[in-house]
């Protein structure tokens, strides 16, 4: 019987050479290339020699359709129906993913091309109060807008983070019977259109406030903050809620089993573990709020001069800055709008990069956790 399971010949192990296990072989690549080339040629032949092409978009569509058809036919011939369908779908899926990428690149490119030539450091050095409409675009100053955006988002943070965090903790770590209604309300509130939030602040606080002569309630950064808070609160709460839910229940149990109180567990175990996730959630929320325009029309009104006091008087912010200028009829004034848009994009990218940075070690941990999970499922 031992004969059926012989020891491998030779005692020394073979050299360990990793083997290629790719799904796509050289022949597949060649076939795809061939299909692509012939699709392009055929398109050219049909649309440009036989007919008049309606435009590059039509060329693209026809060539793509031809490529798909050829790929299917060729693969079906080589490998059979199932493999052909598989390859066809793979191609379509890749195209779909590009549908995500292409508009983004176009959008970014458009704004960079229109804004970058005119962006100077001076943009961050002064406001627009002394820049006339006929002045060159490079004289644009956005200090007031940048300051306004920073102040409003910071204030929003101050309002949102504690409330959102506490609510998320309430939803996750307590067993109150109000949890269900609160969860429903948070969901409901996340459906509140931002413009309605702005309208609410305008009609419920600003108008009555001004008419009653309370100086506090007038167009101001603070009012914008209130509207933005209504927009940001539910999203931030929900994301923190999700992040807290990701904290392994085992950690909570471990803490409780050591004799900790609930409060202690949340403070010393849950929050530190979820810290990076919460940070990411908050920064992403900020990024979203920083670009919000609609409610500001009703609440902070906008200004051309620097107003560093968020509590009184109209205040500019980057989205308003952009909105103000892109609608003006003079070309150089419109370009100011693009400069502002560029700065807004840069600000949001910075915030985004921050979020990635803050979330990095969390993602590492998560991959570790997920490998463990895959091990367990096997």
């Amino acid at each position: 019987m031992t004969a059926t399971l012989p020891r491998p010949a030779g005692t020394r192990p073979r050299p360990l050479v990793k083997r290629r296990t790719a799904q796509v072989t050289r022949a597949d690549q060649l076939a795809a290339l061939g299909c692509a080339v012939s699709a392009v040629l055929l398109t050219w032949f049909v649309l440009h020699l036989l007919l008049t092409s309606p435009g590059w978009l039509a060329d693209l569509a026809v060539a793509y359709g031809l490529y798909l058809a050829m790929l299917y036919v060729v693969t079906r011939d080589r490998l059979g129906r199932l493999a052909a369908a598989d390859r066809l779908v793979s191609t379509i899926v890749v195209t779909g993913a590009m549908g995500l990428l292409v508009p983004l690149l176009f959008l970014l490119g458009y704004i960079v091309v229109h804004g970058a030539p005119f962006l100077r450091w001076g943009f961050f050095g002064h406001d627009m109060s002394t820049v006339g409409p006929a002045d060159p675009v490079t004289a644009t100053g956005g200090l007031h807008a940048v300051v306004g955006t920073l102040e409003q988002t910071a204030l929003t943070l101050v309002l949102v983070v504690p409330l959102g965090l506490l609510t998320a903790i309430f939803l996750n770590e307590t067993r109150s019977r109000f949890r269900r209604p609160v969860r429903i309300m948070v969901d409901a509130m996340s459906g509140l259109p931002s413009i309605v939030a702005g309208l609410f602040v305008y009609a419920a606080l600003i108008i009555p406030g001004i008419q009653a002569g309370v100086g506090f309630f007038s167009y101001s950064g603070l009012m914008a903050t209130l509207a933005l808070t209504m927009v940001m609160l539910p999203t931030v709460t929900r994301t923190i809620d999700v992040v807290l839910r990701l904290v392994p229940a085992g950690l909570r149990e471990a803490s409780l089993a050591l004799g900790a109180s609930r409060a202690r567990t949340v403070w010393s175990v849950v929050l530190p573990t979820a810290r990076t996730g919460v940070t990411t959630a908050v920064i992403l929320g900020v990024a979203r709020v920083a670009g919000e325009t609609a409610p500001l029309l009703f609440t902070s009104f906008g200004a051309v001069f620097l107003n560093a006091d968020p509590v009184t008087g109209p205040q500019e912010s980057l989205p308003l800055f952009v909105y103000r200028y892109i609608k003006e009829p003079l070309e150089n004034v419109q370009q100011r709008g693009y400069v502002g848009a560029l700065v807004l994009i840069l600000l949001i990218f910075t915030l985004f990069a921050l979020a990635r940075l803050a979330g990095r070690d969390r993602s590492k941990r998560r991959t570790r956790r997920s490998t463990k999970r895959t091990q367990e499922t096997r």
């Binding site: 309606p54 435009g55 978009l57 039509a58 493999a83 369908a85 779908v89 793979s90 899926v93 779909g96 993913a97 995500l100 990428l101 983004l104 176009f106 959008l107 458009y110 704004i111 504690p162 409330l163 506490l166 939803l171 307590t174 109000f178 309300m185 969901d187 409901a188 509130m189 996340s190 459906g191 509140l192 259109p193 931002s194 413009i195 309605v196 309208l199 609410f200 009609a203 209504m230 709460t237 809620d241 839910r245 109180s261 409060a263 949340v266 992403l284 920083a290 670009g291 325009t293 609609a294 029309l297 952009v322 709008g337 848009a341 807004l344 994009i345 949001i348 915030l351 985004f352 993602s363």
Partner: protein, 317 residues
């Protein structure tokens, strides 16, 4: 043996715990209160508008404070049409993109794309509107023209003579679709990643191709997520404001011709009338309330669908 009954177990919370419970409950209730106040106020302030037009508010196309005609139907119609167009464009793309991210892309690319989706979500609506108005809109005109020319028999693609293709609900829908893409993609991706690996491996181990596996396992599993994600996207699309206000003429009307100039949405209309007062303001409030109710309904339907579906457990969009 006698029937055993559970005994009451009561814990004595420490002081820290009592404070903890009070504070968090307070925060939760504050949340509740905020929404109730908003809702109440909206209802209160839209009272005059409802008084003025009664139920007709919901059946009137025009919104014209001038003649005391307040109606939300035309606005609502535009809102829904734009949102539907957006969803029709965004959902297939989202499904494909989510499939690519979860099933086709490998390691690094997957992380990159996931980040990209988040990034897309962070780009302000204003910039999409700006881009759509000055760049995409004109680019789409020949497409619209072509559609009309070849598929004009299909009512939505029909087009009246002498109107333009710019500023159409179609273009607005396209722009909004770009804005809802991130949210639908991330919900659908989230659901797809929850597909039980066991079932996927089972399919593959039976000799299935990747597409076969996706078709038999991933898509059926993710169906609830796809529907729910679409509804969430729809909710988002309904509320889009500034881009739409830059793009559409904001004339309340009901037309099936989505390729041609025209259209209005509630939020865009509100933004364009930011200085209304008196009855008009009340009318805007009422329209806002209707919009709010509408997004609420879609969001709730979405969460019900997501949580009812097999893929719903643990997914939170």
């Amino acid at each position: 043996m006698s029937v055993v009954l559970p005994r009451a177990v009561a814990d004595v919370p420490s002081r820290a715990d009592r404070v903890f419970r009070r504070v968090t409950t307070g925060a939760g209730l504050a949340m509740l209160a905020i929404l109730v106040v908003i809702g109440f106020f909206l209802v209160y302030r839209s009272g005059p508008a409802f008084d003025a037009s009664g139920f007709g508010f919901f059946t009137t196309v025009k919104f014209d404070a001038a003649n005391g005609v307040l109606g939300v139907l035309g606005l609502l119609y535009g809102t829904v049409v734009v949102a539907l167009i957006a969803i029709c464009v965004a959902v297939p793309l989202s499904v494909l993109a989510a499939l690519f991210i979860t099933e086709y892309a490998s390691g690094r690319l997957r992380g990159f794309l996931t980040g990209l989706v988040d990034l897309l979500a962070a780009i302000p609506s204003l910039l999409y509107g700006l881009w759509g108005f000055s760049f995409l809109g004109p680019q789409v005109v020949p497409v619209s023209a072509w559609l009309t020319h070849n598929f004009g028999w299909f009512p939505p693609f029909a087009h009246q003579d002498n109107t333009l293709f710019l500023n159409s609900m179609f273009i607005a829908g396209l722009i909004v679709s770009l804005m809802v893409l991130p949210i639908t993609t991330s919900v659908i991706r989230e659901v797809f990643t929850q597909t039980p690996p066991g079932e996927k491996e089972a399919a593959l181990a039976l000799g299935s191709t990747r597409w076969g596996m996706v078709k038999t396992v991933v898509l059926p599993f993710g169906r609830g997520g796809i529907i729910g994600g679409s509804m969430l996207g729809l909710g988002r699309a309904l509320g889009e404001t500034i881009a739409v206000s830059l793009l559409l003429p904001q004339v309340p009307q009901i037309t099936t011709h989505v390729l041609q100039f025209g259209g209005a949405t509630i939020s865009g209309f509100i933004a364009n009338n930011s200085g209304a007062s008196g009855l008009a303001l009340s009318g805007l409030m009422a329209a806002g309330l209707v919009l709010f109710g509408f997004t609420l309904a879609t969001n709730f339907t979405a969460s019900v669908i997501i949580s009812r579906s097999r893929s719903g457990a643990g997914v939170d969009a």
